[in-house]
Symmetry: C2
DNA sequence: TTGACTCAAAGTGTCGACAATTTAAAGCTC
DNA sequence: GAGCTTTAAATTGTCGACACTTTGAGTCAA
């Protein structure tokens, strides 16, 4: 494990709320909790064997991450991502990550290149979509960390889970498309790495932007799948 | 008031916590609550005549906005901004706002130009630093809203108060510098407006980036003021 | 069958309380 | 007086409770 350049955990309060966040986040991204499902505090508290206080804080955190949505009445639901949401997340990623690449290029190291190369190699040998996604996110996070900007990292992390939700959701819809679009991704990674290693900030930023643009091109619209809600908001869901 | 293109308040839960956030935020930015001061929940609850629950939620929100910091022990303090923080915020703004300008340029309207022009005119007639700052932030927020991207807007808003904290803090330190650096800002605004109105995304993005870079150039370091903490963390402060 | 109305069940916002932990002061030794 | 130890105050994390609001099923009239 080479130099993870920036650690991001300056704040770490409570403990129980943290566990609730982790579990719910995982359930939402995996689709166990489908979009549109209501998340009632008493039910969740019972499920986690806690009181409502930690659950409440967890929901606030998940709202901040864009995974759930507060309604005006106060009720909380798993967020439904539309095609427009998909585009918005893409643009936000481009904004943050191309700046990250710009700064990262200026302080790039051989160790960083090595890390990215190993990551790409593992991507080429990946056997499942899930594994591929995990590696892809890992790579991008590494670049953002290399920018050594806590704000940039925090902003990126705050949309990270929405992005992963998009990814997972799309995967579930397009098993048929399989790996094809992801090969494009892998070749794009090589271009980005070359730009980073060359130490040219402008080029790195431009390549990163182009790469994200391309890798998120195969959106539901491009694939001709659903229209508005990425997945039909599953009304049928019973917790506990 | 022309088309405020994007409204950003889809979620709006609690009410008491909201009031606490507003008051504390204002006190922190104005310097009434100086950097480093500890914010204890019981004392704040007493001050606001509420229980700890709303205060707690408010502190979480302020942490998210970067105005306060949680320590590992759980204690909360008003955040101390360093020179590096200043640079980080600048870069984050450049990332978000140049993308915003790029998208805004594509959907620019005469009404938008009119709004910005009125804003610039008011800036030229502004008589206080505070007023000038307020107008400057208003202008930039308008551009971000014109991008019609909820994520971009949310990300921008999440660092907005840190930026205002920088501004206010710097103003308090450099009353002497007065308006000079802000004239640069005003002329930069005209360039940005021209690019936006021309409808060329690349140019708009580039001009916005250059403008922010320039307007945040007059940092404490450039002015040769303090080194690390932007302001000496005032240890002397008694609440209530 | 449809539609408005009623009313109980459920949910949120807020509160005060308690144990565990941390902080800061008082006390003691040298 | 300086430094370490003890002790009391303060603070956090979590809990259960209550009032008020929303939701939704069931009822009744048309």
């Amino acid at each position: 494990m080479p130099d993870q350049p920036q650690d991001s955990a300056p704040a770490q309060r409570k403990n129980l709320a943290r566990e609730v966040v982790l579990t719910l986040r995982s359930d939402i991204i995996s689709g166990t909790l489908p979009p549109g499902v209501a998340l009632a505090e008493p039910a969740l508290a019972k499920k986690f064997g806690s009181s409502r206080a930690p659950v409440r804080e967890a929901l606030i955190e998940l709202e901040r991450e864009g995974l759930v949505q507060f309604e005006a009445t106060g009720r909380t639901r798993v967020r439904t991502l539309t095609e427009q949401d998909f585009d918005e997340i893409r643009d936000a990623r481009i904004a943050l990550e191309s700046m990250a690449a710009r700064r990262a290029a200026a302080r790039w190291t051989p160790a960083a290149s090595e890390f990215i190369e190993r990551n790409i190699a593992r991507q080429e040998n990946a056997s499942t979509l899930a594994e591929l996604s995990r590696l892809d996110v890992e790579l991008h996070e590494y670049v953002v960390r290399m920018a050594a900007n806590q704000r940039l990292l925090a902003l990126w992390q705050s949309i990270r889970w929405q992005f992963e939700m998009c990814l997972a959701s799309t995967h579930r819809l397009q098993q048929k498309m399989a790996f094809k679009p992801l090969q494009i991704t892998v070749s794009g990674h090589r271009l980005v790495l070359a730009a980073l290693a060359s130490g040219k900030p402008d080029v790195a930023a431009q390549k990163m932007a182009a790469h994200i643009e391309g890798s998120m091109e195969w959106s539901p619209s491009a694939a001709g799948v659903e229209e508005h809600p990425l997945e039909r908001g599953a009304a049928a869901f019973s917790h506990s």
